[in-house]
């Protein structure tokens, strides 16, 4: 019952091997066979709604088969403030390590996109909504340092609900830390392409704006805060349309909006113009 009654179903929580599962499209409300949805890159075949992808799925989508290699040491989030909301943050982290198998909310590495070698970081929305904790900030910083040292372009695929509240002020500091790394990287000839997927909010949205080129997946939302925080701050609801990438492209803040089917090709086309890279 539960699964089919709920209007909103987050796809990544459904085990990949489960058969005969149908999900209801968040946008058009129609039932879709899960296998068919997966084959269609998790895009609703009826209305074109883009379901969320896990970090692993994103890497499989964007990089040439077998070319992705993780870089750096595994860095884990820690419960530095002994934070407790409904459950303790330490417990949350332990559970995530056991279920998802990721130590933090970003996967970084190198890979080829249409034959062009690049460094790439992908936010894992399945890890506490891709929020920006200290470990995530450190991994992103290392990614830009690695890209700079190795003369590689840098791509970051963003999907994040914002700052990691459980890490308090440390989370906020990551925004300045990563921006510093981006600016250093760009000053030394680096080329940063940021990819916005649904949604990118708060600090990560600010970081994403550092892209030399900003590519967005169709129907994504990017902005300074999500509906709940917005309402809390302004005492009234924020019209969701204002954060839609299609509108922001018209306003001049996003370079190009493409569907998931065109994303890899678009990135490949952009990377081919990176000056230090010969084909």
């Amino acid at each position: 019952m539960g699964l089919f009654n709920k209007k909103k179903v987050v796809v990544p929580v459904i085990p990949a091997e489960s058969q005969d599962v149908r999900v209801r499209c968040t946008s058009c409300g129609r039932l879709i066979d899960y296998d068919a949805l997966k084959k269609n890159l998790k895009v609703c075949p009826h209305c074109g709604y883009h379901f969320r992808m896990s970090a692993a799925e994103r890497i499989a989508l964007l990089t040439d088969k077998g070319s992705f290699k993780e870089i750096g040491s595994p860095i884990s989030s820690v419960d530095s403030l002994h934070f407790r909301d409904t459950v303790s943050y330490a417990e949350r982290l332990k559970k995530l390590r056991d279920t998802i198998g990721l130590p933090n909310a970003v996967l970084t590495g190198t890979g080829k996109i249409d034959g062009v070698l690049t460094s790439i970081g992908v936010f894992a929305y399945e890890f506490l909504s891709g929020t920006l904790g200290s470990a995530t900030g450190e991994k992103l910083t290392e990614l830009f340092e690695f890209a700079g040292k190795n003369d590689l372009p840098a791509i970051v695929v963003f999907s994040s609900a914002g700052e990691r509240i459980q890490e308090g002020i440390y989370s906020l500091m990551q925004v300045a830390k990563v921006i510093q790394a981006i600016e250093d990287y760009k000053k030394n000839g680096g080329f940063f392409v940021s990819v916005i997927t649904n949604p990118v909010l708060g600090g990560p949205a600010v970081i994403a704006m550092g892209g030399d080129v900003i590519v967005a997946e169709a129907g994504s939302y990017v902005g300074v805060s999500g509906p709940r925080v917005s309402e809390q701050v302004m005492k009234r609801a924020l019209p969701k349309e204002a954060q839609k990438v299609e509108l922001l492209q018209n306003k001049g803040f996003v370079d190009i909006v493409v569907t998931r089917f065109q994303l890899k090709e678009t990135l490949g086309n952009i990377l081919k113009f990176y000056r230090r890279w010969s084909l």
Binding site: S73, I75, S76, S77, V78, L81, F83, R84, D85, T86, N104, G133, S134, A135, G137, E138, T141, E163, I165, E167, G168, I169, Y170, S171, L172, M173, Q174, V175, A176, K177, I179, Q180, A181, E183, G202, G203, A205, V206, I207, A208, M209, G210, V222, G223, V224, S225, R228, V229, Q232, V233, M234, L238, P239, E241, A242, Q243, L247, L248, K251, F253
Partner: protein, 309 residues
């Protein structure tokens, strides 16, 4: 003066004081008792109480510090892209005879001011103004930057989103990160979220004793984590937002003292404390060579955060 909920024991005594004054009765040591009561109440102040103190409408705000502690202030308006955000005030001024660029946020003390400054919520044009003034101080005038922070955060509206709020915040943060002059920041009241960050990227970060600095407001955090506002007090404690805690976490460099009863009761004492602290800090950063200062600033942000390898 508005008394805050946790100040109830003081309020009762104040009422009695007023009654006696009106009727012409002897005070009989009541004023001393009030002093003691204030000490007592502020000794047991909780993080959320500090949030309320920081938001007190009579608490001195950046524009007040600029007026009292700086001379020859020339306000510079506008983002050069079509708007001037009233919530950000900035310009050239002298502090103790030293030329500086001072930039602050302002919330306003009464309804009229609050409306004009939209409660200190910074718009994209405000962040662009911060970036512009930082570049002017850094690249053209070569004068230190002093920022004064008191803001409930970045504005979130349809208008600010389509005007590139996140992009504007990026420009403010990167301008201060890269400034070729010393940057000193003081959080005088509320320091919330990305707006506070965009003004606290600095070589020396100072904080008033009853100010707070948080990744987002306890109310917003409670509404995200619990879907309601009931837990704002608990969350305020969990978030570690007070000056004492942040000094221990190496986020800030110095606490500027406030007497019990806080700045809204004793603005002159606090003004003096801010002045003294700023004098010392400005002297301290002026002695340092700029490339060493910049290297230290860089390292500070490179190392920010706690994680395990």
């Amino acid at each position: 003066m508005k008394t805050l909920p946790f100040e109830k024991p003081i309020e009762i005594l104040y009422k009695e004081l007023k009654r006696r004054e009106v009727k012409g009765y002897a005070l009989m040591g009541l004023d001393e008792l009030i002093e003691k009561q204030i000490e007592e109440v502020y000794k047991h102040i909780t993080p959320y109480d500090i949030v309320l103190v920081a938001r007190h409408p009579d608490r001195p705000q950046p524009q007040d510090y600029i007026e009292k502690l700086f001379t020859n202030f020339t306000e510079l308006h506008g983002d050069r892209a079509g708007e001037d955000d009233a919530s950000v005030i900035g310009g050239t001024a002298f502090f103790n005879g030293n030329p500086v660029m001072v930039i602050g946020t302002r919330k306003g003390h009464d309804v009229k001011e609050t409306l004009r400054y939209h409660s200190g919520m910074v718009k994209p044009s405000g962040f662009r103004k911060i970036a512009r003034l930082a570049h002017l101080a850094s690249d053209t005038l070569h004068i230190p930057i002093i920022t004064l922070v008191d803001t409930p955060g970045a504005m979130v509206s349809a208008e600010t989103e389509v005007n590139g709020q996140v992009s504007a915040i990026y420009s403010a943060i990167s301008a201060l990160l890269d400034a070729n002059v010393p940057v000193i920041s003081i959080i005088t009241g509320e320091g919330e979220s990305l707006a506070a960050l965009s003004l606290t990227v600095s070589d020396r970060l100072l904080m008033l004793k009853y100010a707070f600095f948080a990744v987002l407001s306890p109310e917003a955090a409670s509404s995200v984590l619990f879907k309601n506002l009931d837990k704002k007090r608990e969350i305020a404690k969990e978030l570690h937002i007070t000056a004492d805690e942040l000094l221990g976490m190496n986020i800030i460099d110095r606490i500027i003292e406030e007497p019990a009863g806080a700045a809204h009761r004793f603005p002159h004492i606090v003004m003096k404390n801010v002045k003294e602290a700023l004098e010392e800090e400005l002297e301290f950063v002026s002695k340092e060579k700029i490339d060493i200062l910049k290297r230290k600033r860089r390292e500070k942000f490179r190392k920010a955060g706690v994680y395990s390898e």
